[in-house]
Symmetry: C2
Subunit: 306 residues, 2 copies
């Protein structure tokens, strides 16, 4: 393996995604156009997408003690992710989620988490962190994210936080531990109480000494360039979006993979934007993540050779 | 085995049932109180419930060529149902369905059927129909239902039709082949174009020479007694309903099981009503079906001895 692995920490859920003409709006029977079941959740989608995009990943998450738990791990492992550290929680149900999606991309999401599934971990997984390329965490398993980011800091590898909407104290706890914060626009605005996205990026860059970026879907990604001390805006690649589910995860995966390859922050964001745009053009959540070959076709560099 | 098996023909779907404070009414994220995944569909729920209620059953249905298909069969077989005749459909997805249920029992249902899953069967399953106690069919696999009801007629065993809402031509095709028609109120009213349930039962009894009954949930079951040439109304057992999903299937299962034991039609409907009422008091679709022991506690006769 030429590139070191990225440890992804956080959510693992079995999503059933139904595509419908219109979203259900109350009682009744609604016939979908299409349906697909896919193992995802932020960290899981990121781990799987990193591999598609030419990187390598190892996954730390929780599965239940049920048939769904086995399928979750099987599906993510089949993508080439090292799932040997996924924690099996006895007498817990695996996380599941139903997602309805209409033709305009509007979504109804009903996620179910067994309350005992995400209990704090006893210790870090048995991994040599100094040999990892980076750690990337989401906000769904805060105690594990905290441990992993601290260890990344200690051994001197990037610690990337996918700062999505969460309780403020979770973001307050995790952000200072991360070298790179890539936040969704709603989370950044909520956290900074800013009126505009630009204000939110500036407030984050003020609050946090490392790399900060805020993603705004089709409005692109705003980030703070420490070298030039200036706000940058990388525009999104235009695409006919049919499914934006997991687009953020593909973005994070592209960013982390490129960073670990040694690409610049700017190049990493361009790579991430192109990967996320391609994903949006395809139905099926993270299954729409493109391969590295597709990005090479668009002019991006090939993955580092073995 | 003291009682002969009942062949159940029709639906097999993996239902994910979410219990929510209120039903989703558009885009957004909705957090459920509880969630459970259960193999059901009308015929599957009937086959499983027949066993719980003291009978024996064999199941003829379609599963897809996927992990869900295996779990569907595993779950129904674990209830003691003979699943050796379930047809595996190559390159098809198994049927799945998401059900949202609020505290008042209102439901949003989104079922997905692979269009190729329910193709007509080539032939009857390799079973000696003369040794069966009865055939019970739903409306979801009409070609198979037709074959099975015709064979039941030929060998002289009861052929029971669960007449739920379906295309009129399906009901027109299957009803004359059944010795017993147990219809839901919406299906009976739709089929007969009657203004009241009483009119619907009378119209069905006119149209069909065998046994006819119409179930109306908490309003009980109306049926036509051929011996006395009169309409009968068996009241539902009062219960604090928390989940009426699969209550109709438990009713059909109880009716068929009691009939095959040699109970009278009236006794069979009382038994079915009591079983369905207990089911309604428990969350989890067909998983709420009571055992025979629970019905014996309520004063019903034990299952025939070995």
């Amino acid at each position: 393996m030429s590139v070191p692995k990225i440890l992804c920490v956080g959510a693992l859920t079995m999503d059933t995604i139904y595509r419908l003409d219109k979203l259900p709006d109350g009682p009744g029977k609604f016939i979908p156009l299409d349906a697909v079941e896919v193992a995802e959740g932020m960290a899981a989608a990121q781990a799987a997408s990193i591999v598609r995009l030419g990187g390598a990943s190892v996954f730390w998450a929780n599965r239940g003690d049920d048939a769904t738990g086995q399928r979750l791990v099987d599906q993510i492992a089949a993508e080439g992710v090292d799932c040997s550290h996924v924690r099996l929680r006895k007498e817990c149900q695996s996380a599941i989620s139903t997602i309805f999606m209409d033709r305009a991309g509007e979504r109804t999401i009903v996620p179910y988490y067994d309350p005992r599934l995400m209990a704090a971990p006893e210790s870090l997984p048995d991994l040599d962190f100094a040999e990892l390329g980076a750690v990337m965490v989401d906000v769904r398993w805060p105690e594990a994210a905290e441990l992993a980011l601290k260890e990344a800091q200690r051994v001197g590898i990037p610690g990337i936080l996918d700062a999505d909407v969460a309780q403020i104290d979770v973001l307050e706890r995790l952000m200072p531990l991360a070298s790179h914060v890539v936040a969704s626009e709603p989370a950044a605005r909520q956290f900074t109480d800013a009126d505009t996205t630009v204000d939110a990026v500036m407030a984050l860059a003020d609050w946090h000494a490392g790399f900060v970026a805020v993603t705004s879907g089709e409005d692109g990604c705003r980030w703070f360039n420490r070298k030039t001390n200036s706000l940058r805006h990388t525009h999104a690649v235009k695409v006919d979006a049919v499914d934006t589910l997991a687009a953020g995860d593909v973005f994070h995966a592209g960013f982390a993979a490129a960073l670990v390859e040694g690409q610049s922050e700017e190049a990493a964001i361009r790579f991430a934007s192109a990967a996320a745009a391609l994903k949006c053009s395809r139905f099926g959540g993270r299954l729409g993540c493109p391969t590295r070959a597709e990005l090479v076709e668009q002019g991006f560099p090939p993955a580092p050779a073995n």
